[in-house]
Amino acid sequence: MDKTIGSLAEAVSKIDDGSVVMIGGFGGSGAPIELIHALIDRFKATQHPKELTVVNNNAGNGKIGIAAMIELGMVRKMVCSFPRSYDPKAFSEAYLRGDVDLELVPQGTLAERIRAGGAGIPAFFTPTSYGTELAEGKQIQEFDGKPFVMERWLKADFSLVKADKADQHGNLCYHLAARNFNPLMCMAAEHTIVQAREIVAPGQIDPEHIITPGLFVDVVVEVPEPIQEEDMIRAGEEYV
C-alpha cells in the first residue's frame, strides 16, 4: 500500500465544482499553501473547481491561499470562526458584495463539529452560543438543569492538510502548533489529501509518535520545503 502521489496537480485533480473542502491550518500555521495554490492553478487553467464551500478557521489573508481562492471567484461559502484576521480584504469585500456566504461558527464548536463528522456522531449538545444569535433556530435541550444547544456534525468531500512527516501508509506527524485543525479534518472528509515535508517508508516513524493514523488519509504528496503563508504575506506576494 503506497498512498504517495507524484504531483500537487494530481493530488487536487478530483476536486469538482460545488465540493465542500476543509482546509487545515490556523492562520498560516499548518496551512497547506502548496495544495491550495495547485487548486488555484487548476482553476486558472480550466475555470474549475468553483462554487466551493470552504471550511477553515479563518477566511484567508492578503492575496494568497484561501484569500486568493475567494478573490478569483472559486468560493461560494465560507464556514469559519474568525473571518477578520490580518488583511482579510478578499473575504470582507466578497461577503459585503454578497458574492460569498458565511456560516459563522464558534471555534470550539467548529472543531467539535468536524471531529463529530469524522467520528460518526451526527449531533451533539454544547453550552457554547446558548442565548446568542448564533444559537437562533437551533434545538435547545436541558441536561442536568442546564440549557445546551444542539450542533450538527460537519463533513466534507475533500480535506487539504499540511503535515510535517508522513509515511507511505499516510501516517502523519505535525510540526509544533501546525497541528490545529489538520488531524480533525483528516477524519471528516471523504477524500483526504495531504502535503508532507517528508515521506518515509512504513516503519520509519515510531508508531507512538503518529498523530493521524493513515486510515484517515487517502493521498500524500511530498513538498520538501513548504512555504510559510506568513512569510509570503510579509513579502507581499500574490497568487491571484
Binding site: G108, E133, L134, A177, A178, D231
Partner: protein
C-alpha cells in the same frame, strides 16, 4: 472631569494578583494577554492558547519566529519547559470540559446578571467570533478586564447588554480601570475602587446599581511602564 483611571498595564497587574499558583489560564487577545507580563514571582501558571498549546511563553527574538508556533492572536510565541501540543478538538475539550481554571476576556458590555457582549457591536460589517463563546462556558472562572466606561464615558457595566451576547450569566469578576466588581446573585458587588472616586461618583459611571457586601478596599496599583 478626567477620570483617575488605572492604565492598561495597571489593570493587567491587578488581574494578575488573583491568579493562583498552578493555575491553567487562557488570556484573550489584546489587553487580557498583558496580564501574563505581571505574573507573580513564585507562582507557576500555565497559559493555554486555543490553537493547541499549553505552556507557551513570550515572543521569540525578532527573526527567530517559527510561524508554526503562534498563539490565538497569530503572534509568534515560544514553548516553556513542560509545554504540550495538541489538536483543536483536544484544545476545546480543555475549555468545554471545564479543565481551565480561568479565562480572562475583553468586553464591550457586561450585564449585572453576568451576561457578556464582546464579539460585535451591531449587525453591520463582517462578524467574527473566534473562541470567545466557548471560553465563557468552559473555564471554572471567567473574568473580564476592561475600561470602566466607553471612549465617550458611557457605562460598560449595564443592567442589560444592548450589543449581541457572547454568553449568558457567564462572568464572575470584572477588573475595570476604576474598580473590581464581582457578580453575585445577578447584581454587581463592588469589591475595590480607586480611592480618589467616591462611591457615588463610581455609581454615576456605572449603568446598574452597585451593591456592597462588606468593605470596599482601595484599588491601588504601582506605577508601571505601559
Amino acid at each position: 472631569m478626567t477620570l483617575p483611571k488605572l492604565s492598561n498595564a495597571q489593570m493587567a497587574w491587578r488581574a494578575a494578583q488573583d491568579i493562583t499558583d498552578g493555575a491553567y489560564v487562557n488570556l484573550g487577545i489584546g489587553l487580557p494577554e498583558q496580564i501574563a507580563k505581571f505574573q507573580l514571582e513564585g507562582r507557576h501558571i500555565t497559559y493555554h492558547t486555543e490553537n493547541g498549546i499549553l505552556g507557551f511563553g513570550p515572543a521569540p527574538e525578532k527573526g527567530r519566529e517559527d510561524w508554526d508556533l503562534i498563539n490565538a492572536g497569530k503572534k509568534a510565541v515560544t514553548l516553556k519547559p513542560g509545554a504540550a501540543l495538541f489538536h483543536h478538538a483536544d484544545s476545546f475539550a480543555m475549555v468545554r470540559g471545564g479543565h481551565l481554571d480561568l479565562a480572562v476576556l475583553g468586553a464591550y458590555q457586561i450585564a449585572q446578571t453576568g451576561d457578556l457582549a464582546n464579539w460585535r457591536v451591531g449587525s453591520k460589517g463582517v462578524p467574527a467570533v473566534g473562541g470567545a463563546m466557548d471560553l465563557v462556558h468552559g473555564a471554572k472562572r471567567v473574568a473580564v478586564i476592561t475600561d470602566h466606561v466607553t471612549k465617550d464615558d458611557k457605562p460598560k457595566l449595564v443592567e442589560k447588554c444592548t450589543f449581541p451576547l457572547t454568553g449568558v450569566g457567564c462572568i464572575s469578576r470584572i477588573y475595570t480601570s476604576l474598580a473590581v466588581v464581582d457578580i453575585e446573585d445577578g447584581r454587581f458587588v463592588l469589591k475595590e475602587k480607586v480611592p480618589s472616586l467616591t462611591f457615588d461618583q463610581l455609581q454615576s459611571l456605572t449603568g446598574a446599581k452597585l451593591h456592597t457586601t462588606g468593605n470596599v478596599t482601595d484599588l491601588i496599583a504601582p506605577e508601571l511602564d505601559q
